[in-house]
Amino acid sequence: MISPETFHVVSTELVVGAFSVAGLSFTLCLLLHLGILKQPSWSPVFDHVAHFTLAFGLAATPFAILSGLSSAPGEGLNSPILVNKMFLSMTGFGFALGCLITRWRLGNNVWSTTKSTTLHSASGLAAVGSMLLTASAGGTFARGESLLDILHLPYENVLLFPMIVSATALLLGISMLVLSWKRMNALSSVH
């Protein structure tokens, strides 16, 4: 029987690896579509790689979160670093989900203008950044150090909203999802 600690290491390595490749691919997509990198034939390749790896990392993320909670010493969320890890991973999950849904429903049109290209790449890169920060917080929690320690990130401080604010934000988020989903279906060429 595999222990939660080992399973957490496996799942986080999958997440971090996949998201890292996605980050590199989104960066190249952005440079290609903005004309900074003069290799238009690479665009479809990096477009596919970016979204495939993002989807793969996204699929592994719930396993990483759940195994992380199981393998943490003590009962439940007993450290501010664990809470920040939870917030960062869920934020990254949201960015990745939005990025993948828009690519799925809007197709290649996400690359049609400079603004939409920039926004799409930025959302993908934000997902990657959130996940890498989560991994960094994990390193700080488990080993007391991380590569991103040079940034002196305040992992020990938690910005926790009152539950009423969180509930309002949750409802607002769900409403935005529903409305934008309807709008996307009106725009989408995928029927």
């Binding site: 990025c99 799409h120 949750l170």
Partner: protein, 375 residues
């Protein structure tokens, strides 16, 4: 050929990077670990270099079954990395697995860092090249056990260093003499306490008529505290509150019908009280962040993406392309209305035309678009 060379270079670079990332310079924390961890769990065991440290184990001459005893590891000739961090293992064989004292039927009651682990990390002071640490252990069965110690640390190079005792240290466990004053066989000393609160220790003994309680802080000064009897072979003693994370050590001197007994020093670490948070609030905020970020991304993307999206059934571009191929090239308006005057026909200006009219409308006349006729 060039691409192959590049591939080999990249793969070589990746292999070199794996060696650099093999060790954990920040340590791994105290824990229960077998020797395999010291040899390989932070990387391939084959990349380990041999530590120059000299390790030796010592214990009291007589060890009784069920009675705590101290096992001391002395490490000399240490050459740690710049982090000055070393990891020390107490083991019962060198097979690499199932080799912790617990696997051999021993119980670790206390370690020097305020836990009950067989793997201990220590940070050496600058210039310090030797150290000595102790474990308080208890045997559950009679017989002999061979103990080993191992060390794991960084060094000048990127490779981790690993070393073990030159030979095993054998201890024999003897039966307890009758009426020997001792701690109860099921007594387990606490290893942690909270800051800012005094600690009352409840101690159970056997064959004990009186008890003396001693404790010392990290400066080594020994203090005696009052002991209260709370029943037959049951005692309480109080340790003063710790104001900062630190360790104290305590022991008791037991007197009864048998010879006087002094227990090992048990280590008690003070730490800040555990951090607490409303888990419901955390989970609610986490899901709110998920839906908010996803919602914002999708909303913005749908607004910034152009509405005139061609359907996949729309073949207009293909049809236009085909039409363009079929239509012969014709002079465009731009070429016709060139500012250059058109050449005059051989018969001269058409009848009734002025030169100014020819300069303006001559191109249309020549193209047959003027006046409905061809020249």
């Amino acid at each position: 050929m060039k691409s192959r060379i590049h591939t080999v270079l990249v793969l070589s670079l990746l292999l070199v990077c794996s060696a650099f990332g093999a060790a954990e310079p920040g340590g791994n924390g105290d824990s229960i670990q077998d020797m395999q961890c010291g040899g390989a769990c932070h990387g391939d065991a084959s990349i380990n270099e041999t530590s120059s440290a000299i390790l030796s184990l010592t214990s009291p001459a007589t060890i009784y079954v069920g009675i705590p005893t101290t096992l001391t590891l002395t490490a000399t000739n240490l050459e740690p990395s710049s982090t000055r961090l070393i990891g020390l293992f107490l083991l019962t064989d060198m097979t690499g697995h199932s080799d912790t004292p617990q696997d051999a039927g021993w119980e670790i009651l206390s370690d020097v860092n305020g836990g009950a682990m067989n793997y201990i990390e220590q940070k050496l002071s600058p210039g310090q090249n030797e150290t000595s640490i102790s474990w308080v252990i208890r045997a559950s069965t009679l017989g002999s056990t061979t103990f080993h110690a191992a060390i794991h640390h960084g060094g000048g190079s990127s490779s981790p260093f690993f070393g073990t005792t030159a030979m095993g240290f054998e201890v024999s466990v003897e039966p307890v003499p009758e009426n020997l004053p001792r701690l109860a066989a099921d007594f387990t000393p606490p290893t942690l306490r909270e800051l800012d609160t005094s600690t009352e220790l409840n101690i159970q003994t056997q064959f004990t008529d009186s008890m003396q309680f001693e404790w010392k802080s990290e400066d080594g000064f020994i203090t005696t505290s009052l002991v209260n009897s709370t029943g037959d072979n049951s005692w309480t003693a109080t340790l003063p509150a710790a104001l900062q994370p630190t360790t104290v050590q305590w022991r008791v001197i037991l007197e009864g019908e048998g010879p006087q007994q002094t227990t090992p020093w048990f280590t008690l670490a003070a730490e800040e009280s555990s951090w607490e948070v409303s888990e419901n609030a955390v989970y609610l905020q986490a899901f709110a962040l998920l839906f908010m970020t996803a919602g914002i991304v999708i909303t913005l993307q749908t607004r910034l993406t152009p509405k005139s999206t061609p359907s996949k059934y729309d073949e207009t571009p293909v049809v236009l392309e085909e039409l363009a191929l079929e239509t012969p090239p014709s002079p465009t308006h731009a070429t016709i209305s060139d500012s250059t005057p058109p050449p005059l026909p051989a018969a001269g200006l058409p009848i009734g035309w002025t030169e100014a009219q020819w300069n303006t409308y001559g191109h249309d006349y020549l193209a047959g678009k003027y006046g409905g006729g061809q020249l």
